[in-house]
């Protein structure tokens, strides 16, 4: 059990170049599962490897349970990691893979056996203990990697995209298993993924990174409802939020041939900027019978319970929208639809900086 604190921690691969991780400050509370999420190159894996002790910390501090670990080698940090490739030892059986960290620490044989058996039982690996990794399926290998981490009973779990090598169905199943296991063991966990669905479903809190910088660190619902900038707004949510650069008109902005009103605080903080970036989630757009902005449908994605309509404005080909429609929609490709915007659900961002207006 421990709290993990990144205190302005940086990783600079080549002096003078942009840091891979730039002054990251972030506190993971005891027992919490925090997800680091971002596109590739955002520094999320580097941040995890810094915590793991596989990358040096070039500036700032990193504390685990109050202890500064900048100069502590990874084996003495009391952490365990699940690698994206699982990094199982191919010449060893499942049993020996899971017992390896215990053996390396000179734990007595009886205790090794107790812990390995217990972990194998939790993970449903008991009947595979004699097998070599190559004789296991992807999901089983993933569980062995988990087992090797939990036998250690470490203070912190680190997980580097542990689900990315699984097929879609297995991924959903394992996602729930990991979250359940983490709740049950109550061990502080830092989890890296590029998949925002994983981040939203698993994280107690989610840190969104971009170009080595922390964008926002909040609970999933907070990220969804109050993204601090246009990047987070576009990254979280699937399909992504519609982000439109719109010209000011009257008390709001003009979308096609309709006015979308903006709240007073938003107008004030936008000042006299001529355009504002408007963010509207697909579910906050609705189909109407008459009024609303006219758009031509390009693609219909039918998901059963709902559908997503990809459309462009009737009088502006370059402006595209994603609208959530009902399941079994009758709308077809090429049809013109009228879309109504819920003004209460509109997010507004500065067109130049992308920062949220009047948060």
């Amino acid at each position: 059990m421990a709290e993990v604190v990144f205190d302005r921690a940086s990783r600079i691969y080549t002096p003078g170049a942009t840091p891979a991780v730039d002054g990251l400050s972030l506190t993971v509370d005891d027992g919490e599962l925090v997800v680091l999420v971002g596109p590739s190159g955002s520094g999320k894996s580097t941040a995890l490897r810094m915590l793991a002790g596989l990358e040096p910390i070039d500036a700032g501090h990193l504390r685990i349970d109050g202890r500064d670990v900048v100069d502590v080698p990874s084996k003495d940090r009391d952490i365990a990691m699940v690698f994206q490739s699982y990094a199982l030892y191919p010449s060893k059986t499942v049993w020996d893979n899971m017992a390896f960290p215990l053996k390396m620490r000179g734990m007595d044989k009886a205790e090794q056996a107790r812990r390995v058996n217990e972990a194998a039982e939790i993970l449903g690996l008991t009947e595979y203990l004699d097998r070599k990794p190559k004789a296991l399926s992807g999901g089983q290998r993933q569980r062995v990697a988990m087992g090797r981490a939990i036998v250690r009973e470490p203070q912190v779990f680190l997980m580097d995209e542990p689900l990315s090598n699984l097929d879609a169905k297995m991924r959903v199943q394992t996602r729930a298993q990991i979250a359940g296991l983490q709740n049950r063991l109550d061990v502080t966990t830092v989890y890296v993924t590029h998949d925002q669905v994983e981040a939203m479903t698993m994280g107690d809190r989610v840190a969104v990174l971009r170009d080595g910088r922390l964008q926002q660190y909040a609970t999933p619902s907070e990220l969804y409802d109050h993204p601090v900038n246009a990047f987070v707004a576009g990254f979280i949510g699937s399909p992504a939020m519609n982000l439109l650069d719109l010209g000011r008109a009257g008390d709001g902005v003009r979308l096609g041939d309709v006015d979308v009103p903006l709240r007073r605080e938003v107008r004030d903080s936008a000042g006299d900027a001529s355009t504002v970036t408007i963010g509207v989630r697909p579910e906050d757009l609705s189909l109407s019978d008459g009024d609303g902005v006219k758009a031509v449908v390009d693609v219909v994605e039918e998901l059963g319970s709902e559908s997503y309509l990809y459309a462009h404005l009737a009088d502006d080909e370059a402006t595209t929208l994603v609208v959530r429609g009902p399941g079994r929609t009758r709308v077809r490709y090429g049809e013109t639809i009228a879309v109504r915007v819920d003004p209460e659900a509109v997010h507004a961002f500065d067109s130049a900086s992308g920062e949220r207006l009047a948060s």
Partner: protein, 287 residues
């Protein structure tokens, strides 16, 4: 019919390998010494009987085993050490690697000559020169340790081959396994013993088999350095057969020895190759 264009190659291969082998068997059943014209006559298996009764042949066979296995195993160990050293970053690694590979690129005859004259000569040799501060005088390495002298030249030539093979093996090792082991608390020695060696096993097996297949046929080093002497102290089977055939002109005896050696080599090589194919085949299955 699709394979018909390959027929000339097949015919050629049969002509240059199988027909000489049949002729060798034919000669091995005869008593025929070239210096006594008219001595050619059928003796059937007498030559084989005398091959197995020949204590020199047994001594030479033992020399061959020592020379082949000893050289290969020592070359593997040295190659492994060098490969481990080369598998880390340091300034000038490319130059060092090239220098370490050069012995393998030298013509075996030239290498043998170099060892015989420049390095191991009792009076002018560099080895004695370097060792002279340690009280080594004009040691005649080649006459006192003939078999070891030949082996030193062979090991010097074959260590780079083993080094390259094992270096390729080391570089194919996934780094995340090593990172995982480091986080699991394994030290450098434990990582080497528990992960690196098992990973390198198939490369070591391959190097050993390839090296042994090549070195069992060594002729040039023996011929250049010791001529198999003193007596037959450093002779191996190819050299001994050469001596009996082209210095003693005993065609029947040497043909019989040749057949015996071919049969033994096929048996050993079959088992060794099967071992290698099995461990590479098993490893393929994991990816």
């Amino acid at each position: 019919m699709r394979r018909a264009p390959l027929l000339p190659a097949l015919v050629f291969t049969i002509i240059v390998t199988q027909i000489p082998f049949l002729l060798t068997i034919f000669y091995s059943l005869q008593s025929w010494n070239l210096v006594r014209p008219g001595s050619q006559q059928w003796v059937w298996f007498d030559n084989y009987v005398s091959v197995f009764q020949d204590s020199q042949f047994r001594g030479v066979a033992l020399n061959t085993v020592i020379m082949t296995l000893g050289s290969v195993l020592i070359a593997v160990v040295l190659g492994l050490v060098l490969a481990l050293l080369l598998n880390r970053h340091f300034v000038g690694r490319g130059v060092v690697r090239t220098l370490l590979v050069t012995p393998f690129l030298i013509t075996p005859v030239a290498a043998a000559l170099l060892w015989k004259t420049t390095l191991l000569d009792p009076t002018y040799g560099l080895v004695n020169f370097v060792l002279s501060p340690f009280g080594v005088g004009e040691e005649a390495w080649i006459s006192d340790f003939p078999l070891a002298s030949v082996m030193v030249a062979l090991i010097w030539q074959w260590t780079p081959f083993m080094m390259l093979l094992l270096l390729a093996g080391l570089q194919s090792m996934p780094t995340d396994q090593i990172e995982a082991a480091r986080m699991d608390g394994a030290g450098a020695w434990a990582i080497f013993r528990e992960l690196t060696l098992p990973h390198l096993r198939r490369f070591i097996e391959l190097g050993t088999v390839l090296g042994a297949i090549y070195l069992v046929n060594t002729f040039d080093a023996v011929y250049m350095i010791t001529q198999g002497g003193p007596g037959t102290a450093s002779a191996n089977l190819p050299f001994y057969i050469y001596q009996r055939a082209f210095l003693g002109f005993d065609i029947g005896q040497s043909a019989a020895m040749g057949v015996v050696v071919v049969v033994m080599t096929i048996i050993v090589a079959t088992f060794a190759l099967r071992l290698v194919f099995r461990s590479f085949g098993a490893a393929e299955g994991s990816h």
